[in-house]
Symmetry: C2
Subunit: 168 residues, 2 copies
Amino acid sequence: MADFATKNYGIVAPVTPDERFMRMALRQAAKAAAAGEVPVGCVVVKDGRAVGRGLNRREGRQDPLGHAEIYALRQAARRTGSWRLEGCTLYVTLEPCAMCAGAIVLSRVERVVFAVPDPKAGFCGSLGNLVQDRRLNHRAALEQGVLAEEARGMMKGFFRELRRSRRR
Amino acid sequence: MADFATKNYGIVAPVTPDERFMRMALRQAAKAAAAGEVPVGCVVVKDGRAVGRGLNRREGRQDPLGHAEIYALRQAARRTGSWRLEGCTLYVTLEPCAMCAGAIVLSRVERVVFAVPDPKAGFCGSLGNLVQDRRLNHRAALEQGVLAEEARGMMKGFFRELRRSRRR
């Protein structure tokens, strides 16, 4: 029975809070994909409640700073009434870049959870780790791999579609 | 005479374009100080014209991402109609932090000129150099020290005032 439960044969596993909020971030990513943007989504959570959401809008808004994390952090600051996002967890489908990692440190986010690493531009472990740089005045806990298959699948599907549409 | 000219005894030296635009950035910084914000100002220039201006508004707007560079880059993207700020120079009174350095790379700014280094949080030479990281897909030329005395003086004056007002 123990084996049955741990191997999880066809049983829907209870969803952890991290999975629940990463699922929300994936929904934001899906919205980005539907709008023709690279599918990245983000949710900022405080006391078990999503206080900020964002999706990548770089092309649509012609905003160089239009990453999902930036919108989510801004909304969270607005909704909580303070730029100090202490006690907040940020969920994002792709490892944050240098700008977003820097923004996370400035916002004093407590914990960052991302789905897939970004070996080309990620600064939460891949090219560097800005959110845990001991020289800066704030550091965040870091976790990766939550719903990684789903996030990776969405990304791959998006770029496959993009290449197909460009060949036409 | 040569000595007289080079030592510049009381003579107003011709202003270089870099000094002219850094002076504009300093005016933005002065506005920030007047509003009780840490005095940092920024100007983005394209073809000899200021297309984006910004000043630090972190407290006033309770925006964790409210750095001068962020507002200036956003305005420049809006005014030029594209998030690709190729051919642009960014002038800022204080060395950009990790978030702003990351934003500069994402915006493809060609050149960054700052007045004073920030040994605590600067990522354009002090704690690291994100705008010239060869692993990223864009790099910017970098210059520092333009009107450094003025920028440093403004910063020092602001913090002296702040300490004084807190003692009251």
